[in-house]
Amino acid sequence: MRVEMRIDGETAAADIDRPGESLLSTLRDRLGLYGTKNACEQGECGSCTVLLDGDPVCSCLVATAQCEGREVKTVVGAVPRPVRDAFIACGAVQCGFCTPGLLVSVADLLDREDDPSDAVIREALAGNLCRCTGYEKIIDAVHAAAEAMAGAPPVRAADATEATP
């Protein structure tokens, strides 16, 4: 069964051979898109977070066949440059495994809230686990990214990529 969707702004097609194949599995194992990480496969950890039609979801819990015609954005296409820069500048990356999922969740949060409080950040990131427990630096990074984005017009990574061939 062929499923067509848009992934990070590009048309993509995958041939799946069982109805329960997850979007995570399709992204990594069929399409070779390794930005989205696989950890728990039960929706607990948020490592596989992507935007599906704009909403953060665990790609391990979405059946690929549900995505026909849908818009998927991974860490590659969902995250504004200032969010990435802030994670690096603030030391919000330790082993890095949770980082792609966190970046997607933070991108969504800052899309909805210009200047979130600590409490709002904690609730928005409650579904993303960092086993290095580097949460304080991650919260610092969200504040730094919010501040950076308040000054500049938002530049999505995908747009930036298109602008530089």
């Binding site: 069964m1 496969e41 665990c58 979405v62 059946a63 549900q66 969740s105 409650a126």
Partner: protein, 291 residues
Amino acid sequence: MTAPAAPPFHRPADLDEALRLLAAHPEAVPVAGGTDLMVAVNYRRTRPAAMLDLTRIEALRAWSDEGDAIRLGSGVPYTRICAELATVLPGLAAAARTVGSPQIRNRGTLGGNLATASPAGDGHPPLLATGADIEIASTGGTRTVPVAEFFTGPKRSVLAPGELITSVIVPKAAGPQQFLKVGTRNAMVIAVCSLAVALDLDTRRLGTGIGSAGPTPLTAPEAALIELPWTRPGLFNDALADEFGRRVAAAARPIDDVRGTAAYRRHALAVCAARALRRVWTAAHGTETTR
């Protein structure tokens, strides 16, 4: 290498088509948010021969105002229940906000919660406390089941093969409501126990719903009948709240399991119930019973 055979994944565009497909393909497992089903699939605990996607059926993803009640489509994700219905259905919205994480709430639905029929389903206690009705459809027609009659055992319900939950009719709040949930953190928690209380100021009725403390979600009928000082609200006191807590605990039928002991669950329910009753009474009457 030959092309893989097309797996049967049905994507009906409307409810009639979904019901016809389900009747013709009884092996097809309905899927909406996938937050329960896909875990089982990923861990090879189930391998559906076919699936039936409910996320394209607009009628299931909408809610409507029916005057005294909200007709809530079974496929409305928890995020939207929190964002759109917190004023009219405060107990259900409070419960929805405790479900999983933002990612889970963006996908998970009340219809899936009911169909799974876990004793720990967060959506169930507020539905019991408010006396909601479940609408169920098949090619044979539709039927309405009071939520108190819906659950028949752990992960078992009256839902029959070929049937889909289409909507939940939830009476609008006629007074303050509370939902309290005990767990190890404020997210991603399967309830150790949970409790919903709904105070109806029009009918002077108290509704209760207990989660994760019995083979099914339960009500506490004896607790709901506690005599409240409606004519002199200031007479409400801690002894009354504590008695309510004892009656709620007595209505529970908990077991010892990985999340907690039966004794702890009863204790926590008594504390939660007393707290919830104080909160709804204070909210309704502004009396000084803060604790």
